[in-house]
Symmetry: C2
Subunit: 253 residues, 2 copies
């Protein structure tokens, strides 16, 4: 039965020198990943690239071809370092046009804010053939073109755009997950983890060790699209941990 499930995948390109310099901690990877999970779409890979046309074009063309969806964050603002629209148009081999609806939205938004300057009009530019994604915070819309979704870099604005897209993308069965924590060194339970995973064909078990207050522990995340097999796997893992005298903590530590 597992074989008949269609898996939908997405990739994400985080565009911006500020992430690569270490100045800004990215918050969009986790946000987009969680949102995709709810839509039944699996985030398969992420690339962080510089504000550099060649790098963006390469990433766009590689990732859009091998995923159902491609998301980008960053580089759609009004300044000289905002080159995402031009780079995506170049990757697709289409022109950049001014989108009439985007121009109207920006014109209205900026009317009480000093008017629509040439710099602000940059935010109405889209690859030819694109549709807009509403931005409820600052006017400037996100952009969909083919299977590519261009989102803002500011996480709060991205959140609003994702919200606007909720339920509009075709996805598969959501990947379900359960977490089991344990105060144990993962090296003590490596065999148990491998064997439990093997006994539940639809499940994957990830082991995430931590080291807190001088104590060693780990969280085990069990993922599956099959709710029953997931529950059975969690049950077996917890029983296995009890069996070696290491009580499991449902929900994780």
């Amino acid at each position: 039965m597992a074989e008949s499930i269609r898996i939908y995948t997405a990739a994400l390109i985080v565009i911006g020198d500020e992430i690569l310099s270490g100045r800004t901690h990215d918050a969009n990877i986790a946000q987009v990943a969680s949102w995709l999970g709810v839509q039944g779409i699996r985030l398969s890979e992420v690339r962080v690239v510089a504000d550099d046309t060649v790098a963006i074009v390469e990433a766009v063309n590689t990732l859009r071809a091998r995923n159902d969806y491609l998301f980008t964050t960053g580089g759609i603002g009004p300044t000289h370092d905002d080159i995402t629209v031009d780079a995506v148009a170049e990757a697709l081999g289409v022109d950049v046009i001014v989108h009439p609806e985007a121009r109207a939205i920006l014109s209205e938004y900026y009317e009480p804010r000093g008017g629509l300057t040439e710099a602000r009009l940059r935010m109405a530019r889209v690859p030819d053939g694109a549709e807009l994604i509403p931005n409820r915070y600052t006017g400037a819309p996100g952009i969909r073109v083919g299977n590519i979704y261009l989102m803002a870099g500011v996480p709060q604005i991205t959140a609003g755009m994702l919200d606007a897209l909720s339920g509009t993308l075709e996805g598969g069965q959501p990947l379900l997950s359960e977490t089991v924590g344990c105060w144990v060194a993962e090296s003590e339970v490596a065999d148990l983890l491998r064997e439990t995973e093997k006994a539940h064909a639809s499940c994957q078990i990830g082991s995430y060790p931590f080291w807190r207050d001088g104590r060693t522990g780990a969280n085990f995340v069990i993922r599956s699209t099959d709710a029953r097999d997931l529950a059975d796997c969690v049950h077996d893992l917890m029983e296995g941990l009890e069996g070696i005298g290491k009580p499991a903590v449902p929900g994780g530590i």
Copy 2:
């Protein structure tokens, strides 16, 4: 003069389903990026890939070839989902061996902790030809092989490994940066930013807008390897902002 400066670059591969599921917020990108900056090495690109051999091999072979250094984080622990060592060995076309020194370190570390089991011995496995990177927290070492540095996934342990590597990698001139903040919509100063950047050949200006307490602001980050040109560029930008009645905030907002 700028033309004669050798730029050293590194790439980073973050390995782990937990980042792609959105469960764990990555902390290693910013940490590795900042550390590289201090070594005079520029982080040129990052990829986040799943615990999947094919994906890791592809990323390793692409990125090691076009960067001076390649770092990976994650997947070097004792459990079945830790496949980084095997994938990197496959990418390099070398065998996986048990490193005698790593075995000795683990043997000593686990002696009072239940002994060196088969699972724990997995952490002594390295691609043939590798050297060890000390781990002052939990015994299991990081691994250097060629220009590839395999680090832990747990950020605290990665930090210790980076510390152990400090000053050992050949780098270039550190990229210097200054930040100037301003309560202004970046769309109002797009021309100023572009022209100021153009007037200072060694400098790049990044514009990072934010939206806080209902107010619009931006931080402008000026980067250069030339301290004098950087200072001049910061001066000109601040003067330009004052000139339009928008006081600059040195150091950023």
